[in-house]
């Protein structure tokens, strides 16, 4: 697990309080709106996302940058590769 701090992002997707498996459905849709190499920040309070999102990135050919944990939620960073 790679941890980051204050990573810059081009867009934020707030999935706090949203039920599983939204964390695997919405990032793909949101990445469609970004350009190559732009970074998406995903906010979630779902623990399962910590394993699921890196695996999803690998499967979909996107780069998983890392995770930051704050008081409210997890922040996961994905770079759009394709």
């Amino acid at each position: 697990m790679k941890f980051v701090k204050d990573h810059p992002a081009d867009a934020t997707l707030d999935l706090v309080c949203r039920l599983c498996p939204l964390h695997l459905l919405e990032p793909g849709e949101r990445l469609k709106c970004l350009k190559k190499n732009q970074v998406l920040e995903v906010l979630t309070d779902y623990d399962g996302a910590l394993e699921d999102l890196p695996a999803w990135c690998e499967r979909c050919g996107q780069e998983f940058i890392g995770i930051e944990e704050d008081e409210e939620c997890y922040k996961l960073y994905i770079r759009k590769i394709k």
Binding site: D14, L15, V16, C17, R18, L19, L22, L25, E72
Partner: protein, 390 residues
């Protein structure tokens, strides 16, 4: 026997066009909207079209609408969902003393979970004072819930004044608009609300469907955990025919609202004036002017509201004593208590809610029968005899 239905706040008949729109979604388009084949995806598209219709009726965007099973569920999701999602920001909630039970009891539930809940008093017309709201806000306040209009007394609250106070302080503002959507113009941006509940019951849609408007991806803790329906905010396979019915009813309401308001207001005024002319010792409840167009509510001295309803029923006239779910409890209405009505007078509460389908002839029939029923009941009342003797 003639039937005059004047309890549209409790339920409205489902309109023919609404039933026709719903019918294909029972058998022909039966697919589960969460499936990826066309039998399911066409149903999902239909749900999203209804979302747009409901959004249009209240000046919102389709993405900001969650379908629920009722107005009560929408109120629960708004109050509990918003409070629980903001628990780390504060633990104080403000709701008015005259809210529907689905808001009041959600507040009481949150009290048991260590939230602090303030029940804001109202004046004799049922109005919430914006200054009083401002004084009640603390650094811990995370949510305010005040209904758009009260279903028992018809008073319309100054929502935009109240919501602007909350917006300045970053406090989420919810309004229960079950009584107003479809009965008067409702625009979420003009009202400045973050959350707004509505129900199919008052729109000519079937029972068992409602919706919650939520602004800008506002965080809401789901009440029902499960799958991906309603964008992961409300699990459970959708009530597709009900949602289609709500969408069609919303479409019709958007088109017909200005005419309907004019019509029901005329009938309401006719009814109010007629009752005042014909029956002594009657008190109008709620605000004289800031009230729902089709809503007339009274307290009749020396009468039990339930007896009145049953006698009117025998004449084919259908009204209510207050909210549909509270009228069976034979308990003094908390709304009437909150506006300072004496408990004995509150027993004689009666509420007429007029719809676009009612006619002047029907109102004339009520004005013929209602005074006779009151007279008959009062002739048996020792309280009335004392009033007359005094």
């Amino acid at each position: 026997m003639r039937r005059v239905y004047l309890d549209h706040a409790s339920a409205t008949p489902v309109r023919k066009a609404v039933i026709e729109a719903m019918l294909p979604y029972f058998a022909e388009h039966f697919g589960n909207p969460s499936t990826i084949y066309d039998l399911g995806s066409t149903v999902l598209e239909a749900i999203d079209r209804q979302r747009a219709q409901v959004a249009r009726l209240i000046g919102a965007e389709a993405k900001d609408i969650i379908f629920t099973s009722s107005g009560a569920e929408a109120n629960n999701l708004a109050v509990k969902g918003a409070a629980l999602a903001r628990r780390n920001k504060g633990n104080h909630i403000i709701i008015s003393a005259i809210e529907h039970h689905s808001v009041l009891n959600s507040g009481r539930f949150l009290e048991r979970m260590d939230f602090e809940v303030s029940f804001l008093p109202v004046d004799e017309h049922g109005l919430v004072d914006p200054e009083r709201l401002a004084r009640s806000i603390t650094s811990e306040t995370i949510l305010v819930s005040i209904m758009h209009a009260n279903n028992e007394i018809g008073t319309i609250e100054p929502i935009s004044d109240l919501s602007s106070i909350c917006r300045e302080k970053g406090i989420v503002f919810h309004t229960d608009a079950v009584a107003t959507v479809g009965n008067m113009r409702v625009d979420v941006n003009e009202l400045g609300v973050d959350l707004l509940s509505l129900s199919g019951v008052s729109l000519g849609a079937p029972k068992g469907v409602g919706a919650l408007y939520f602004r800008d991806n506002l965080r809401l803790m789901p009440l029902i955990h499960g799958g991906i329906q309603e964008m992961g905010r409300r699990a459970g396979t959708e009530n597709v025919p009900g949602i289609v019915g709500l969408g069609k009813a919303a479409e019709l309401a958007t088109e017909e609202l200005p005419e309907k308001i004019k019509h029901v207001q005329q009938l309401r005024d006719l009814l109010r004036a007629g009752i005042h002319e014909r029956i002594p010792h009657v008190k109008c409840t709620g605000h004289p002017d800031r009230r729902l167009p089709g809503h007339a509510s009274f307290c009749i001295e020396a009468i039990e509201g339930e007896a009145l309803l049953l006698m009117l029923n025998q004449e084919g006239i259908y009204a209510n004593t207050g909210s549909a779910c509270a009228s069976k409890a034979l308990k003094t209405s908390p709304v009437l208590v909150a506006i300072g009505i004496r408990p004995d007078l509150a027993q004689g509460s009666i509420v007429f809610t007029v719809d676009g389908t009612n006619t002047g002839e029907e109102i004339a029939y009520v004005l013929e029968k209602f005074p006779l029923v009151v007279e008959q009941l009062r002739s048996l009342s020792p309280v009335w005899r004392k009033i007359v003797a005094a």
